[in-house]
């Protein structure tokens, strides 16, 4: 009669341990602040200025601006297979930016139940009014599609 309550405690322990393993794997894949700083530094080297930081649910990322670009451009980190990344490769091929580790926002990955498996698959793209709609982009001046 006392074995079943013990089993309940064991299941609770398993559940807690499971949450810990998932949290550890998730935290190992999520972008830490140093990744964000790396990205900002890479953009700064190319003449871009970080205007505001935001991680809204739709895109996530960082809103940046450039002296040569009248409109701010929002940067998001996406999988190359994501529809936004695929779309940008069609409408604005040069806006696909550099492969980079880390995740800035959760929007594109909101439906995922898996932590990041491979940071190599993550990629930064730029999107904004100019980047998405106009092939004479500002974004293409700074970051090019990797070979």
């Amino acid at each position: 009669m006392k074995r079943t309550p013990l089993a309940v405690v064991m299941v609770l322990c398993l559940a807690a341990m499971g949450l810990v393993t998932k949290a550890e794997r998730y935290s190992a894949g999520i972008g830490e602040p140093d990744h964000l700083q790396t990205i900002i530094a890479a953009l700064s080297e190319r003449g871009w200025r970080v205007a505001t930081e935001r991680t809204d649910g739709a895109l996530g990322g960082v809103v940046i601006s450039h002296a040569a670009c009248p409109q701010p451009v929002r940067v998001a980190v996406l999988s190359p297979t994501h529809e936004l990344g695929a779309l940008l490769q069609v409408v604005a091929p040069d806006t696909v930016l550099i492969p980079q580790a880390g995740i800035l926002g959760g929007g594109p990955r909101a439906a995922s139940t898996e932590p990041t498996r491979s940071r190599e698959r993550e990629m930064i793209v730029a999107i904004g009014p100019a980047a998405a709609m106009d092939e004479t982009l500002c974004a293409d001046r700074i970051l090019r599609r990797p070979n």
Binding site: A7, G18, L19, A58, L84, A110, E114
Partner: protein, 281 residues
């Protein structure tokens, strides 16, 4: 088909059965919790937790709560949930909790509920089937929906663009990007699409029907179709509002817009289910 309820350890006593029931309820809750875990981590990490119910769909909350209620209210005694013998299936499902993947937890719940449903009957069987559907819809949202999302989201962007153009003639649509050039652009993500939420909506509708005592495939299909139609209409409207401007996006995507959207859809599910039970749809 039922198990033989004999156990040398408990002797099949009522106390033992109640404890076995508690064990399996805790196990099911733990599988759900671990299934939701990564979404909760993401919602907290991205700061969207307050507006997204910790990343958990309200449809899933409704379905899991109703499945738990039905299981708890199932007659006490020799049934599947209360079978005193703790078997290998219980143990295997418990071990799956340790895997550092929410997908494994959902697969475990799918298998566990499916196996138990084979031996259960009546309301208990339907509750296990509901849990299977919850797990299947979660797996679909994370692994199936992204595969076809890139085909559906442009269609939704097109519909939202058509709606937006009624008030903003300069609205444009490029793929899954809809908005007004030089003002605001919205990217329709799979997570915002009916592809992602549709199956969960159907599961929640089936759950509500189970809760109000309606059984059978026909009421589920009737109520599900109505709820799905309402969802698509409201979702397209919401996308059009979000694509209008940054201010409209913040309003529709923020706590007020999200709560209003969820409230309307959940109400539609309940009304459609009640109407289907009465045979009015």
């Amino acid at each position: 088909m039922r198990f033989a309820f004999t156990s040398s350890s408990s002797g099949g006593s009522a106390f033992g059965e109640i404890d076995a029931r508690a064990l399996r309820m805790v196990l099911i809750a733990a599988l759900c919790l671990n299934g939701f875990a990564v979404r909760v981590f993401e919602a907290v990490a991205t700061g969207s937790a307050p507006t997204s119910l910790l990343g958990i769909s309200p449809f899933e909350i409704v379905a899991v709560a109703i499945a738990a209620l039905v299981l708890l209210e199932a007659p006490q005694g020799p049934n599947v949930l209360g079978a005193p013998r703790i078997d290998a299936v219980d143990g295997l499902a418990g071990l799956c909790l340790l895997a550092p993947s929410s997908t494994v937890s959902w697969i475990a719940l799918l298998g566990y509920a499916g196996w138990r449903a084979l031996s259960a009957a009546g309301a208990e069987r339907r509750a296990f089937a509901l849990l299977m559907a919850v797990a299947a819809s979660a797996l679909w949202a994370s692994h199936g929906a992204p595969l076809i999302g890139s085909w559906i989201t442009p269609l939704e962007a097109l519909a939202a663009g058509a709606l937006l153009s009624l008030v903003e003639p300069q609205a444009t649509v490029h793929g899954n990007v809809v908005g007004i050039p030089d003002r605001f652009l919205l990217v329709v993500m799979t997570a915002c699409s009916v592809v992602d939420a549709g199956p969960r909506l159907m599961v929640a509708t089936a759950a509500v029907l189970l809760f109000i005592g309606a059984t059978g495939v026909r009421p589920v299909l009737q109520a599900g179709a109505v709820a799905l139609a309402v969802f698509i209409a409201i979702n397209i409207t919401r996308l059009a509002v979000m694509a209008h401007s940054q201010e409209a996006y913040d309003l529709a995507h923020g706590p007020l817009g999200a709560s209003l959207f969820d409230g309307i859809i959940v109400a539609a599910v309940f009304v459609a289910a009640a109407a289907a039970k009465r045979g009015r749809t």
